[in-house]
């Protein structure tokens, strides 16, 4: 009995080894053999195949190699077309950057690559930019479009620190977008579109460029509004220059108020008329600077003309609003009428209160709110923080903040910026289309799609079986006393 058991164990072990060998050889043979065009198997890219080491990538790489080899050996009479390998893809999950690169290389090597988009993802893109404030906040935007019938998808946005936000249900044939402000982004940012637990597409963006921050120039008459707005900006980290004229021959200066110039100032806030010349402000805007026109400055026609807006009417203060979730309804304001090219940032119902527009290369924001200091003093306990954040947002909406220049590798002739040629990980589907073309709308003529990876036997299982069988046989033999 014991010797039979030993024979059985030895047979199983050797058999498993043989099977592993056959499996490996035939897989290589099957992958390496040229596929006739008409019966080319369709490679299916699922969520498991998004990796560079996946069988799909390997299959495509082999196709490239064969294409090169055949091209070198093909004679002038031989039709390359009949012998050229093709790649047909059935994509149910947008592959990662490395696989896309392989596909793009295949296409450029002359291997015809065609694909069918069965993922349900029509678009997915993310962008990251730095908010131009002293705090290193980042602005994230992402959008996702789906198509076709099927269960709803979800989009999860995360950075290296964890999940930032998510959209639970993106219904089929719809577009959802989101914009987030993240105080401390841990790059990279990833937006993953999923259905159940399958990853359909993943967009990735690195950290945003750092910005060169400059000062803010305040033009305000001495009063509570000027005091509290400057306080809010300084508490947020801004450096503010201002000059309060207390008397005809007495001025209290804050910082070193200078001529408006983008070399020193990121933005100018004008709250009273007669303190800044419209010409100087226009020149500042032409340099790319930002301006905020608010308060009494709206009564100056020359300043108002820069904003593409006009005053419609005064808005009465709503009693108690300062303590509500809409505190700005409790401070005095005027409603504005803005031109179509202006972008409304804040409304009260149908009425415009804050709008922003481009003026030459600069940005101009017009705010109908006055006496915002009452929000800080008369609001609830979080009002001081909210007032500070709001003014930060207004200044960030217009501030001139050029990116910090990056050192380029001049000796190597400069690095090739991937974004110049391909959309990249920021928009993976667009990147795939850029590399291998638009997806085919009709199904492939192949009747039996096969996945390269589907029938490969797990070699590790065969090896384990062989090891256990042979070890058992050895142990039994030793126990029996044989050598």
């Amino acid at each position: 009995m014991r010797s039979r058991v030993e024979w059985l164990a030895r047979t199983v072990g050797v058999g498993a080894l043989l099977l592993a060998l056959i499996s490996a050889v035939t897989t290589a043979w099957r992958v390496g053999s040229p596929l006739p065009r008409r019966v080319a198997p369709v490679l299916r890219i699922t969520a498991a195949d998004r990796d560079a080491d996946s069988a799909v990538a390997g299959a495509v790489r082999d196709a490239i190699v064969q294409s090169v080899v055949r091209g070198a050996s093909a004679g002038p009479q031989q039709s390359a077309l009949s012998a050229t390998p093709t790649v047909q893809l059935h994509v149910s999950s947008i592959p990662s950057a490395s696989v896309r690169a392989v596909l793009g290389a295949a296409a450029r090597a002359g291997v015809p690559v065609s694909w069918q988009n069965a993922s349900g993802v029509r678009a997915l893109a993310v962008s990251v930019s730095r908010v131009p404030t002293p705090a290193t906040a980042s602005l994230l935007s992402f959008a996702a479009t789906t198509e076709g019938p099927g269960p709803a998808m979800s989009v999860v946005v995360r950075d290296a620190g964890g999940i930032l936000d998510s959209i639970a249900e993106v219904q089929a044939t719809s577009t959802r977008s989101m914009r987030l402000r993240v105080a401390r982004l841990q790059a990279p940012l990833r937006a993953t579109m999923m259905r159940d637990d399958d990853v359909l597409a993943e967009a990735e963006a690195g950290g945003p460029d750092s910005l060169m921050m400059r000062r803010v120039r305040m033009y305000a008459a001495p009063g509570w509004e000027g005091k509290f707005v400057v306080a809010a900006l300084e508490e947020s980290g801004w450096n503010v220059d201002a000059a309060y004229q207390i008397a005809p021959t007495a001025t209290v200066r804050v910082g070193i108020p200078s001529t408006l110039d983008t070399s020193r100032y990121a933005a100018a806030i004008v709250m009273d008329s007669g303190l800044v010349s419209p010409r100087g402000l226009r020149a500042f805007l032409a340099q790319g600077g930002g301006a905020i026109i608010a308060g009494d400055a709206l009564r100056d026609p020359a300043l108002l003309a820069l904003t593409d807006a006009r005053i419609e009417d005064d808005r009465a203060v709503i009693a108690g609003a300062l303590l509500s979730d809409q505190p700005r309804r409790g401070i005095p304001a005027v409603h504005l009428v803005v031109s179509p090219r202006a972008i409304v940032l804040e409304r009260e119902g149908q009425d415009v209160v804050v709008a922003v527009t481009r003026r030459e290369t600069g940005r101009v924001l017009v705010s109908g709110f006055r006496e915002s200091w009452r929000w800080r003093m008369e609001g609830n306990d979080e009002a001081a923080t909210a007032h500070r954040d709001w003014w930060n947002t207004l200044v960030a909406a217009v501030a001139f903040a050029p990116p910090v220049p990056r050192a380029t590798d001049a000796a190597a002739g400069g690095t090739i910026d991937r974004a110049v040629f391909w959309p990249g990980d920021d928009a993976p589907l667009a990147d795939l289309v850029a590399r291998i073309g638009v997806a085919e709308s009709l199904p492939f003529s192949q009747t039996t799609p096969q996945s390269v990876a589907s029938w490969s036997f797990p070699l590790w299982l065969l090896f384990l079986l062989a090891a256990v069988a042979l070890l058992s046989e050895w142990a039994l033999r030793r126990l029996r006393g044989a050598s």
Binding site: A221, P222, W224, K227, I246, V254, D272, R299
Partner: protein, 221 residues
């Protein structure tokens, strides 16, 4: 004693701009004689108008410390002779008022460091905002508009033998960072500035100039 209603500040168009002008507000509190210096507001307003071009309301107002109306006036004045005991509501309002950026100027009308007002109001302020500490005479307050090289100007009332018979070299303050939240005086400016502004012409030296510094400091710092 009943608390008279606060007079809402007269909405008078400022001389420049349409922003509300500066309004001098006196605090009404429950426990003492809050109104013991009724002429002081007029004198301060007069001084601000004489030396600055700030938009200022021509008349002062009084506002109860227990009322949220305090938040409309980021500078408040408090004085008295009698013991000061804030109610729970007054504490709450005062604490929030100071945290949000308000400035409370307190003057001991007794100018007596052994007096009931001095002891009680310092205790109440310590509970509401923190301990009062001496303000150095080099503080920017003394250069906010006029320059006072030697710190707070001496009042004639300090030298009259009443009160504690001391000339107080410094004012005290509660500082939030570098910002003065509470300014406390033992020098009896309440008496010094309690005369009709028209009588200023009889004075060789205008003794209300320091009030301008306080107002300018509050409006710009």
């Amino acid at each position: 004693m009943s608390i008279p209603r606060a007079v809402s500040h007269p909405v008078v168009a400022g001389e420049r701009g349409a922003e509300a002008p500066f309004v001098f507000a006196t605090v009404q509190y429950d426990s003492g004689d809050w109104d013991s210096a009724p002429m002081l507001p007029a004198n301060v307003i007069d001084a601000v108008a004489r030396y600055t071009s700030l938009a200022v309301a021509p008349q002062g107002v009084s506002v109860p410390l227990s009322s949220e109306a305090c938040f409309q006036y980021p500078l408040l004045f408090l004085t008295g002779h009698l013991p000061v005991r804030f109610t729970a509501r007054e504490f709450d309002v005062l604490r929030r008022y100071l945290r949000r950026g308000g400035l409370l100027f307190i003057d001991d009308h007794n100018h007596d460091v052994d007096g009931a007002f001095h002891k009680t109001v310092r205790e109440e302020i310590a509970r509401a905002a923190g301990a009062l500490v001496p303000l150095p005479n080099t503080h920017p307050l003394y250069r906010a508009f006029f320059v006072f090289e030697n710190g707070p100007p001496t009042t004639s009332h300090e030298m009259n033998g009443w009160g504690d018979n001391l000339v107080h070299e410094q004012l005290d303050a509660v500082l939030f960072g570098t910002r003065i939240a509470v300014l406390y005086s033992n020098k009896d400016y309440s008496s010094e500035w309690s005369y009709h502004p028209d009588n200023k012409r009889f004075l060789s030296v205008d003794n209300t100039k320091f009030a301008v510094n306080i107002v300018v400091y509050a409006l710009t710092r």
